[in-house]
């Protein structure tokens, strides 16, 4: 094997990862309505062997120390949206949060603004109710053609940055307007999807969709604080989509 070969020399230098053992301190929000005790912050120290790349890996280790700790998780690669939580004060996915980016004690709380079911698990009913309220499905009453409906690459590009949402709720639960009015303000996640259907060249319900948001709360409670953009684990921009819907509202009013 020759070291002048670019691949072998690159590989031999790059991937010698020596796992670093370390002790980490977690402060975790604990609450179980089945126990007669108020919520508390629990401090747990855990020995990590360095193979825990992401926070979710460490959380699973934590659960083996204290099996009563409850949290949601599934895909562990940032596509299912299960393990959103408040990590050192900022909403994000445990499975996409690299342990190396977390300094000092790691403070974990449930997503803010929604009722806590238990520990890091929140009741997402209101969040999904808002998502459902924007009629998140394509509306096209023409009889479908025998083959696909045609859409140009440029029209399809309009959907990029919108359809990728994983409904993790990091954004809506970081939004002060949603904290105040979760029953009336659709929130960034729902509005992002509203725009995803408005802008789809195949959808015929733009007028109804705008009517559905014409209300002092549903759309206009967004004050462009942009917390949603800052926390979105998929790098999406709900504020921009909301701005475009507002623009369409104004344009059709004049």
């Amino acid at each position: 094997m020759s070291n002048s070969n670019p691949i072998s020399s690159f590989l031999n230098s790059r991937f010698e990862r020596v796992p670093m053992a370390s002790k980490r301190t977690f402060q975790v929000y604990r609450y179980d309505p089945d126990q007669n005790a108020p919520p508390r912050m629990q401090t747990i120290e855990v020995d990590l062997d360095g193979s825990e790349r992401m926070l979710l890996d460490a959380l699973i280790k934590l659960k083996s120390v204290d099996p009563t700790l409850s949290f949601r998780r599934s895909c562990r690669e940032g596509v299912c949206g299960s393990d959103a939580m408040n990590i050192n004060g900022k909403n994000g996915l445990a499975c996409l949060t690299n342990m190396r980016t977390l300094k000092g004690p790691i403070v974990l709380k449930p997503l803010p603004g929604l009722p806590v079911v238990r520990d890091l698990i929140v009741d997402m009913t209101l969040f999904f109710k808002q998502y459902h309220s924007i009629k998140p499905y394509l509306v096209n009453d023409d009889p479908p053609p025998e083959k696909e409906r045609l859409q140009s690459p440029a029209q399809r590009d309009e959907l990029d940055g919108l359809y990728e949402c994983i409904l993790c709720a990091s954004c809506s639960t970081a939004c002060p307007s949603f904290w105040w009015n979760p029953d009336k303000f659709v929130g960034p996640a729902g509005l992002l999807q509203a725009y995803r259907f408005i802008v789809d060249s195949r959808d015929q319900a733009t007028a109804e969709r705008l009517d559905n948001l014409e209300d002092p709360y549903r759309l206009f409670r967004c004050h462009s604080i942009m917390n949603c953009v800052e926390v979105c684990p998929k790098g999406l921009n709900p504020t921009a989509a909301i701005g475009k819907i507002k623009e369409m509202m104004v344009r059709r009013a004049v």
Partner: protein, 589 residues
């Protein structure tokens, strides 16, 4: 109507039922869009012919050959013929497919998919960037909302209810938020619970993939078919397990060994990096075994995409780019990424016919219909994937058979309306007894310790390359682990969202799947598709068993029964519905 599982196949079935106005309850352990279909990346196979000439006969041939002739050719013909229809339908539902300049759906090449019966690769995989499963799952959920299907979110099904006639009458289920147990009665019960990829230590699968429907079926006396066939996906990220889609190679990525050599050219001169997955995985392992692996331990090869250019990568493979960054610390536009074959897909499952009806041996008929029971998707075995699934055929399977099962239920109930049969008096007993045992056991072993030992044993004894001695040893180990799984303890007794209880219940399903796999594998004395055993390996020119495949004795499906831990076999359907049968031949690419 009860549907267990809200992934691609469950929601495709529930959509047919809800649109027909039937009262359907869809249970899911997780919110529907968190089901594992969401993680599928590459595409949906359908011979639309948008890129070049293609037709379902080619797709049919590729699937039969890809599955090493173990697939049932009637089911394969049905799937490949239905494929364009279900893809167009999905597009009409709003699926954000990528597009060609003429506005048609973009299709990319994928492993084992060819034009003109193996002549050259063909572009058949209908894609939404590398987020096809995500786009499909969300689209199906959205259509279900529109059709007003009723979801029971975060409900875990526990057991199938069967009466004395063997009819399936519903399921028991645990509402996770309250800890309460319910009986859900259904005129039909459809299992769409996905695979059991978590029986292995290194898996591309989500944590929820614990084979719950398979465990339920096994405990209810139903067989599990062809469980020895597990697909290793060639490109799991080394040390992370996370999947990199075959679409990377579809877009032109190349596997290289430590010398920088494109080694697949040696093994598969025609299809090269786009040979089927079992084949590519074995070649990778061969390279590693022969000392041409990369890294300090020479234990992986690399996937090189650097020549594709940043624009193509960010347009067609944006998630792969993110995965490289997040899970391997690699910029795939500039550097190759370390990969190893990683457990990905279960070809076997609950035996069904092409309508999704569960079938089991009875009175000499190996495929007698079990009244009231349906199964679709990865938990089922219809069998279209045979001994090795082609990439893109899994999403297709979900759509075709989810839809077919839904239609069959609607048609049957319209033709012969029936009342609910009375439930047996002890319908919930087995489930309540399992829960009571856990609640009474505080000192037993931690569920994840047992589960981790199952995973380690399966990884060691039922891997890419198997040996008879190692599989036999695995049979004994798993039998011992079954004893341990019966003595798991539960420290957390809370009623509310008790994930420790859920995980303990999952282990009871895992162990059924693991035992089905290892016992079926140890009994199959040949090499076929994903099942490669050292002792039975032969050359391609072997007159009797080319490449180790022994059609005289082993061209048959395995059926494993939990009760008695025993095996039966049933013949492979070599006769398609209308097409000419593809007779077995030497499988080279």
């Amino acid at each position: 109507m009860v549907i267990v599982g809200a992934g691609g196949s469950g929601m495709r079935a529930s959509l047919q039922l809800a649109r027909a106005g039937l009262n359907v309850a869809v249970l899911s352990k997780v919110f529907p869009t968190r089901s594992h279909t969401v993680a599928a990346q590459g595409g949906i196979g359908a011979s639309l012919g948008n890129m070049s000439e293609d037709n379902w006969h080619y797709h049919f041939y590729d699937t039969v050959k890809g599955g090493d002739w173990l697939g049932d050719q009637d089911a394969i013909e049905f799937m490949c013929r239905e494929a364009p229809k279900v893809v167009y339908e999905l597009e009409h539902f709003g699926m954000p497919f990528d597009r060609n300049p003429d506005g048609t759906i973009y299709q990319r090449p994928f492993g084992g998919h060819t034009a003109n019966y193996g002549e050259k690769p063909v572009q058949r995989a209908c894609a939404s960037a590398d987020r096809t499963g995500h786009a499909m799952l969300h689209t199906l959920y959205q259509q279900n909302i529109k059709a007003r299907a009723q979801f029971f979110v975060e409900w875990m099904a526990l057991d199938i209810i069967r009466d004395a006639d063997g009819d399936v009458l519903g399921v028991t289920a645990l509402e996770m938020e309250t800890g309460d147990v319910y009986i859900l009665e259904g005129k039909c019960t459809l299992l769409a619970t996905g695979g059991a990829g978590r029986i292995y230590a290194a898996s591309t699968n989500a944590y929820i993939n614990t084979g719950d429907g398979l465990g339920m079926a096994a405990r209810a006396g139903l067989p599990l078919e062809d469980m020895e066939f597990w697909q290793f996906h060639p490109t799991g990220v080394h040390n992370a397990g996370v999947l990199l889609t075959e679409g990377c190679r579809g877009e032109g990525a190349i596997l290289r060994n430590v010398n920088g050599e494109r080694f697949m050219e040696r093994y598969a001169p025609t299809l090269k990096d786009l040979a089927p997955r079992d084949f590519v995985s074995r070649c990778m392992d061969q390279e590693i075994k022969e000392g041409r692996g990369c890294g300090p331990n020479k234990d992986y090869v690399v996937l090189d995409m650097t020549h594709l250019g940043g624009d193509t990568i960010l347009k067609r493979l944006p998630s792969v780019y993110e995965i490289g960054h997040n899970f391997a610390n690699v910029d795939i536009t500039k550097e190759p990424i370390p990969v190893v074959p990683t457990i990905h897909y279960q070809m076997g499952g609950i035996p069904t016919n092409i309508h999704g009806q569960v079938v089991a041996p009875k009175n000499g008929n190996p495929s007698s219909i079990v009244p009231g029971a349906y199964a679709v998707g990865e938990c089922s075995c219809v069998s279209v994937h045979g001994a090795n699934r082609l990439g893109t055929n899994s999403l297709l399977d979900l759509l075709v058979f989810g839809r077919a099962a839904g239609n069959h239920i609607v048609d049957t109930l319209a033709r012969e309306p029936k009342a609910h049969k009375p439930l047996p008096a002890d319908a919930a007993e087995p489930s309540l007894a399992r829960l009571a045992r856990l609640d009474g056991a505080s000192d037993g072993e931690y569920a994840q310790d047992v589960a981790n030992d199952v995973r380690a044993a399966m990884q060691l004894h039922a891997g890419v390359f198997r040996t008879q001695a190692s599989m036999d040893e695995g049979v004994a180990k798993i039998a011992a682990l079954r004893q341990r799984s019966g003595a798991i303890g539960l420290k957390d007794k809370s009623k509310v969202f008790n994930t420790a209880r859920i995980e303990a219940l999952e282990v009871e399903n895992l162990i059924e799947c693991a035992q089905a796999t290892i016992v079926s594998a140890a009994a199959r004395h040949e090499c076929r598709g994903a099942h490669t055993v050292k002792e039975y390996e032969r050359g391609a020119d072997d007159p009797q068993h080319p490449l180790g495949r022994n059609d005289a004795q082993w061209l048959k499906h395995t059926l494993w029964f939990s009760r008695g831990n025993r095996l039966e076999y049933k013949p492979v359907q070599l006769k398609p519905l209308t097409a000419d049968s593809v007779p077995p031949k030497v499988r080279t690419f």
